[in-house]
């Protein structure tokens, strides 16, 4: 098992915290705003891919650059710039939650730059029959209820504690700021759905069956909108299947990636 690296790179002058590890074709993992770090699932994927996990603007040591990030498209350009900086050629892009939204916005615009796309419980779609709760108004206990299949598990309490550890407080606040900048009250872009047909790369949509933040109705909407897509619903997890059930989630992804994206 390889160990991962941590470094801060410059992306057009912006300090960007980057975790990476493994070997093989490049895989860019766009994280959720709850677990901005190198995770067990990255370790599993690193056995098959060279995995890059950059921290989003404002998160976990990356510059917020908030004067430059006003629309999701700004973030898409940031990651295109990051690929140029790292010389990543046609990466597989995996995005979870907020990161999945970025990946989807990327996919409708520049899907030819991607080897494959995986969306895990992605935000981004406005699905009127499956409304999202106002996540930033919820207290920690209520957040755990919508995010985790088992809200009382040690994992849930570790990811969303009652009170963050003193050394974590700033990172938690910054991650919430990043989420608020793009997802205030409605974590979606109402215009995204109409352009999903433009995603022309093999796409896997992975969804935690018990997600009560963006419910599986959003997964189905992504699946309906993206022609070359498959939907995998994981029964044992909620909003963070890559964290709640990393082994199952990784195996499902690897199976798809072997089949469709070499």
């Amino acid at each position: 098992m390889s160990t991962h690296r941590e470094e801060t790179i410059k992306v057009r002058g912006r300090n960007t915290r980057l975790f990476s590890g493994g070997g093989g074709p490049p895989l860019l993992f766009l994280h959720d705003t709850f677990c901005p770090s190198w995770l067990p699932i990255h370790q599993i994927l690193a056995e098959h891919y060279e995995v890059f996990v950059p921290m989003h603007p404002g998160c976990a040591g990356s510059d917020d650059g908030f004067d430059q990030f006003e629309e999701m498209e700004d973030v898409v350009f940031h990651y295109l710039d990051l690929c140029a900086t790292l010389r990543l050629d046609h990466p597989v892009v995996v995005g979870a939650s907020f990161g999945g939204w970025i990946a989807a916005e990327w996919g409708i615009r520049y899907s030819k730059t991607l080897r494959g796309l995986v969306l895990i419980d992605a935000l981004g779609l406005h699905v009127s029959e499956a409304p999202t709760p106002d996540i930033l108004s919820l207290d920690p206990a209520a957040s755990r209820q919508v995010i985790f299949a088992d809200p009382f598990s040690a994992l849930a309490l570790e990811v969303i504690p009652e009170t963050p550890k003193p050394e974590e407080v700033v990172n938690v606040l910054l991650a919430r700021q990043t989420l608020a900048r793009f997802a205030w009250q409605f974590p979606d872009n109402p215009r995204l759905r109409r352009y999903l047909y433009r995603v022309r790369v093999p796409t896997q949509i992975v969804w935690g069956e018990r997600d009560e933040f963006v419910s599986v109705g959003h997964g189905r909407a992504y699946h309906e909108g993206i022609a070359k897509s498959e939907l995998v619903v994981l029964p044992g997890s909620a909003h963070l299947p890559h964290v709640e059930t990393p082994e199952v989630c990784a195996q499902a992804m690897l199976k798809f990636l072997r089949k469709d994206s070499g």
């Binding site: 930033l136 108004s137 205030w184």
Partner: protein
């Protein structure tokens, strides 16, 4: 010092079990609790109380802006100021203040303030605020832009009052080809600007640079923290190259005057708890949406303010000691206010006489006792010496 009468116009009829049964008096507090049949006399009584303040010789009356809440009944402070404009004769009308970032057209604020200023022949004081975190939920304004929008809206409004129109505004949050505010303000260059704050250092530095008046909000209990805020503001003025004037420091405070200390406490306390426990009730998520307050301030507040808010204080003795309110006989209230005034140096006192669900008789009695027996004795404290070198 000058003494102003402030009002929140709170909803006085929340159910008995509200504190236990509801998470917040804000944003999602069901508006079925609002009964217009009760609201009609309540609004008019509250306006009567401010009109009484004018008759009793207060220097001004103050209204403010909150949305979707039982805490305060003035979603449009300018409408309340308009109600008072022709019914008051001497008092300044202090709008404390308009929540600038909520509006996509700051010109509307510039216009309404100018209208009031002309109608009252220059009795208007214009407060400007970022607003509570809760307003960002109610109006779906992105809190990560709160500070930027506040500053840009402020700059636009000031320019619209001080620059001949029409002109164009090419900003980040506001872009207008035609800015040309009619009417123009009566006061020149524009009505005085007061900025209420709850201790954020960035705000105090900015207010000092602008030479505006900073009002220390009462929600930053206890006394010692609030005194430190005023001290920091004074230091900011020194840093900006001048000595703070007393009239640049406003002190928000709840006051109740009874015939005796015992009577005052007996009459005031139940209504104080209605205010502290019910009306101030909110959630940390509502109060501090991401980006609304700087990280440094949030960290500071997490440590002190949320713990020290009065809803969390368990006894009257703690509330009294914290100096969040000043309650007692005329002599007690005078002593305490004099003591505070001398320690802090404030030349403006912004006093709230109507607490929670207190009945009209109490509020009026307290205001009259205060005006007769306390106010005259405060007049000579913290008066600025007219100076030629004030910019």
């Amino acid at each position: 010092m000058q003494v102003y009468c402030f009002h929140l116009m709170p909803w006085a009829y929340l159910p008995e079990d509200f504190y236990q049964s509801h998470k917040s008096a804000w944003v999602v507090c069901p508006n079925t609790f609002y009964d217009p049949e009760l609201g009609h006399p309540l609004y008019n009584r509250y306006l009567d109380e401010l009109e009484l303040a004018d008759q009793l010789g207060f220097d001004g009356v103050c209204v403010n802006e909150h949305h979707q809440t039982a805490y305060g009944g003035m979603p449009s402070p300018n409408i309340m100021a308009a109600c008072l404009a022709r019914r008051t004769k001497q008092a300044k009308l202090v709008i404390l203040g308009n929540v600038l970032p909520l509006y996509d057209h700051p010109q509307r604020v510039a216009e309404e303030i100018a209208m009031l200023d002309v109608i009252t022949k220059g009795r208007v004081i214009s407060g400007m605020v970022v607003g509570t975190g809760m307003e960002y939920f109610s109006y779906k304004i992105n809190p990560t832009y709160a500070r930027e929008r506040f500053h840009e809206a402020h700059d636009l409004i000031i320019k619209s009052w001080t620059t001949d129109g029409p002109f164009s505004w090419d900003g980040k949050h506001y872009r207008f080809r035609y800015v040309n505010v009619w009417p123009r303000t009566y006061q020149k260059p524009h009505p005085p600007i007061w900025i209420p704050g709850s201790g954020s250092s960035e705000t105090m530095e900015w207010v000092a640079q602008k030479k505006y008046t900073y009002m220390v909000l009462p929600t930053l209990a206890p006394f010692e923290l609030r005194r430190q805020a005023a001290e920091y503001f004074s230091a900011c003025c020194e840093k900006a190259g001048y000595t703070v004037r007393h009239s640049q420091i406003g002190w928000g405070i709840g006051i109740y005057v009874g015939e005796t200390d015992e009577e005052a406490r007996r009459e005031y306390e139940p209504h104080y708890w209605y205010y502290a426990r019910n009306l101030l009730k909110t959630t940390p998520q509502q109060a501090l949406p991401p980006g609304h307050t700087s990280l440094a301030s949030v960290m500071g507040m997490m440590q002190r303010r949320l713990q020290s808010r009065p809803g969390n204080l368990s006894t009257w003795e703690e509330v009294d000691k914290a100096g969040y309110v000043v309650v007692g006989s005329p002599e007690t209230v005078r002593q305490r206010l004099e003591d505070y005034a001398k320690k802090v140096g404030f030349g403006l006192m912004i006093a709230n006489f109507s607490v929670g669900n207190a009945p009209r008789e109490y509020t009026e009695k307290s205001m009259k006792l205060f005006a007769e027996k306390v106010m005259p004795k405060l007049r000579n404290i913290n008066v600025d010496i007219p100076s030629t070198n004030v910019n």
